[in-house]
Symmetry: C2
Subunit: 415 residues, 2 copies
């Protein structure tokens, strides 16, 4: 399993990253910065008050100060403050020239006001030192500083800071083009009303397209193809022209109709592995090859040929396809976040590392969340995927350790 | 904090859930089932082989069996098997009538074949019992069984099973209509080239719209409004007509321009809280009211009036707005998943529970991930949001416990 992951990681690194400059709009979300975004100005740009109160000359000795103006957020006081004077200021207001601190309104008393109730003089209750309640220019971000690093995924936070600095476009990693194809003579279209005996609807295709969509990739729905060698070869050849990565399901077991590996070899691709010691997903196959299209320079393309059982195809996609596609999309951390969870029941261990679908129950602050298995884990059972929040990462059994017990903790991938 | 969360949870429950019937297509992803989806047929529909091998009559006593046909996935053998006969079968193939087990090809020897190399007789190496390597009809899902429960979020897995059963539409929770509004005289539009002294670009608005989008909600960008009482009132009145939830930023502190609470009261809304003991986000305000529009029956609307500091607005949205909107969208678990993380450094505790932005470093299988703080956590520092993967949930300080130390573990919300 580790070997398989390493092979895929290396393949991902060998593929050329592509970049594109895009506008800073909502379509940017989920993409990865391909350059450092640099602040265009200090943040804050001027000295700004962090409190509602009075801007004062901290060390002028005066306990009583004349209120000579107002500086509110969005409305600046342009004069220069002299000793003995102060300016009423609000949070976010620009601190006037001459002022060295802001006294919170709670620490002052109004000692004189005019007929309209406007304060003319205030008294400061306590000593205040220079810089109090003032954000200095550039204290949060200096002009020229990197605000979003290459390799950072642009979420709402990063989107916000780009907007705060008025940055209008940014270079990002171009996402790979992924095509999903289902193979199998037994497959019929989803909209088939009366499925003949021995046939099933192709749910793998839509399911995997949906999985990629959950991770921000608009995969191409490549449809289905029979088990026939020539048909698969034709389908793959066509799809390789338009795709960086192809994900297929079916046709990789040891049966007589399992032609996919032969097709991959006939296309001049190298099969890196055709079997992974994992459950589900034993026949999971990965191939790559330099594919030349229309006389252009050959480019590296990857085919993930996954088993046809729906649980296998989905779990293998989570384990291999998503990290690969994220790597190609520029993610520094392409893998799922992992956490520890507590088992709600005894689980028998097997000869292969097993990825068990489970949902979580949160028992409050003190403990790990408790993981409950989502029903029959047979790889053909598509129902075992429903409601899954994590994949438990069960180790192989050892002599004397054939079970993991209720309340033991185990690592899990957050889906 | 718990009180605030409880108030919001209750408000969410009071608001009417709305439902709609939608097609099972990629737009369904992220919506929550508003009805149980029921399987329309057994899965598998017929007896199906789980292995490549031979379908046999398990107890016919014959060690040598005549191969009388083939049953492949997608190509059925329609005869009835008699004792002493067998049918070659592939994984997923329909088990013929009369057969009671499938023997794996590895457990057989071909004892006679014709001139074209097709096997005519095989020998079974070991005893096989009834039912071996056969999936019974309905063994995974019985016809009439619930395949996706009300309240389940439709992800790729759920999407797959709906497709597998040919289900074409489903009732889901209608998502609430959310409008995001920024308040403040100091705000200028994002596309402002030369921002005047004392003014800042309105990044909160786009940032919160982006945050909702990350969680699948296409919030309405309501733009910005000055701090003027009447302007805010007009803006909110208009927005309440088209929204279930309004999220504002700014105008909720104690300053003289902080008119938002007064506006909410003047609109006949009830303020449930106007201050939360949390950091950042102390002035976070929640109001609700039965709002009547154009003579229709009054309906409950909620306004989340968040602080104007970007870190506060974003963190409060994560803590309050997202769970609320998820509740209204039908989520059974509206809150963020929580996990335990290990601190990479000492952290000083404060008088309020604090939500500290951090990113994770995974140290492999044995330990909790290690959490590193994302820079200066002052609420005005939008940069403190960049790269955050979790919100550390720091408790308040106690006598004798003013710090959390490096390597202590703390709960964190996964963003």
């Amino acid at each position: 399993m580790e070997e398989a992951e390493e092979i895929l990681t290396n393949l991902g690194k060998q593929m050329c990253h592509k970049f594109e400059v895009v506008d800073v709009d909502l379509n940017l979300l989920g993409k990865v910065a391909g350059e450092n975004a640099i602040s265009t100005e200090n943040m804050p740009r001027t000295r700004v008050s962090t409190k509602d109160g009075y801007a004062v000359v901290a060390h002028d000795g005066a306990k009583i100060k004349a209120v000579i103006g107002v500086s509110l957020a969005g409305s600046v006081y342009n004069g220069v403050l002299q000793p003995g004077q102060c300016v009423r200021i609000s949070t976010g207001g620009v601190v006037p020239e001459g002022a060295s601190a802001v006294v919170m309104v709670e620490h002052t008393i109004c000692t004189k006001s005019n007929d309209e109730g406007e304060e003319l003089e205030i008294q400061i209750k306590d000593h205040v030192s220079d810089g109090t309640n003032i954000r200095e220019p550039g204290s949060e971000t200096r002009k020229g500083e990197t605000i979003v690093r290459t390799g950072t995924k642009i979420g709402s936070a990063e989107f916000g800071i780009l907007n705060a600095f008025g940055i209008k476009n940014i270079m990002v990693y171009k996402r790979p083009i992924v095509t999903v194809i289902s193979t199998g003579n037994e497959l019929v279209n989803l909209d088939c009303e009366e499925v003949p005996v021995g046939m099933i609807r192709d749910s793998n295709g839509p399911q995997l397209v949906a999985l990629f969509k959950e991770y921000g990739i608009d995969a191409i729905a490549g449809g289905r193809v029979s088990d026939d060698f020539e048909c698969i070869k034709e389908k793959l050849s066509q799809s390789l022209k338009q795709s960086d990565v192809i994900v297929t399901s079916g046709g990789v077991s040891m049966g007589e109709k399992d032609n996919l590996k032969e097709v991959l070899l006939s296309l001049g691709m190298t099969i890196h592995f055709g079997r992974v010691m994992m459950k589900p997903g034993l026949p999971c196959t990965v191939a790559s090859g330099q594919i030349q299209i229309d006389g252009a320079l050959p480019t590296l393309k990857i085919v993930l040929a996954l088993p046809g059982n729906p649980a296998s195809a989905w779990v293998c996609s989570q384990l291999f396809a998503i990290p690969l596609v994220r790597t190609l999309s520029g993610y520094v951390k392409p893998r799922h976040t992992q956490m520890r969870v507590r088992l709600a029941e005894d689980i028998k261990l097997g000869d292969r590392p097993e990825y068990v679908r489970a949902y979580l129950e949160d028992l409050g602050n003190k403990q790990c969340p408790v993981a409950h298995i989502t029903g029959n884990q047979i790889s053909s059972n598509i129902g075992s995927l429903v409601g899954a929040e994590v994949l438990l990462m069960l180790p192989v059994k050892l002599d004397g350790k054939e079970y993991m017990s209720k309340d033991e903790t185990v690592k899990a991938m957050v889906l």
